[in-house]
Symmetry: C2
């Protein structure tokens, strides 16, 4: 069985972010991987659903739990193109997420700005992969928004 790389999975999350971009949503995408298989894919839909809780991570976690029939995602990896906010980091805590991989940092609303223990102590964190691509897409989005 061929194992996919972290790059492959983050690129799949980036594809979700680009779908958000095309839909006029802040371009953030997420996927959940369990045993080398993508079990959920989601992108930010706060505008379409008129719902501040419809972040990519929340939708991906809900879908992954639905797929597995388990509230807990201990064996799972979340790949997301932007550092999770406090709400989404709190969701990963409850899910007891195995690994969190995020691309770009969110210096304004990312969970790490709090400098407080928000994640589950067993969640391993990796960051920076494809950060440039993710930042570029976000900057492009806000540039278009400003010129509207």
């Amino acid at each position: 069985m061929e194992l996919y790389s972290h790059e492959y999975f983050m690129n799949e999350a980036m594809k979700q972010a680009r779908t958000a971009f095309d839909d006029g949503e802040i371009p953030v995408g997420a996927i959940v991987v369990c045993r080398n298989t993508i079990i959920s894919r989601a992108y930010n839909q706060t505008e379409k659903l008129t719902d501040v809780t419809a972040h990519a991570e929340i939708l991906a976690i809900t879908a992954a739990s639905n797929y597995l029939g388990s509230k807990y995602l201990k064996e799972c990896k979340l790949y997301v193109t932007l550092e999770p906010c406090i709400m989404c980091a709190g969701a990963t805590f409850w899910a007891q997420l195995g690994e969190l991989h995020f691309a770009a940092e969110d210096l304004h609303r990312g969970f790490s700005t709090l400098q407080a223990p928000v994640l589950h102590p067993k969640t391993k964190v990796f960051s920076g992969m494809m950060a440039q691509e993710s930042n570029h897409l976000l900057q492009e989005f806000f540039k278009i928004l400003r010129n509207k």
Copy 2:
């Protein structure tokens, strides 16, 4: 027009918590009030929905935004029977919630344990009303759970 009291609204949230109790869910209930009218009611459904994000507050916020057709709940009051966790507090931040009223404190997972600015700066916070009733219901729930 008769104005309902904060006690009336918190009691309505307690009714939701009792429904959660009867359903075998950790008994937490929430309502959202806008212009003296209850626009959403919800209770914790993490077990039924197999979803860690299905906290009473998240469900109530989503339903309130759906009702109003607005992502923002600046003019709204959330009444919840237990101090919101970090995830739910993060959701109230994004909604720019007007007022947060919670009954019992959550000394383990309540947002205030972080001692960090999690809520929106404009959200007014009130706590303690019906705390005893809420704590009693929670203790009863966990007592039954332990004896199972």
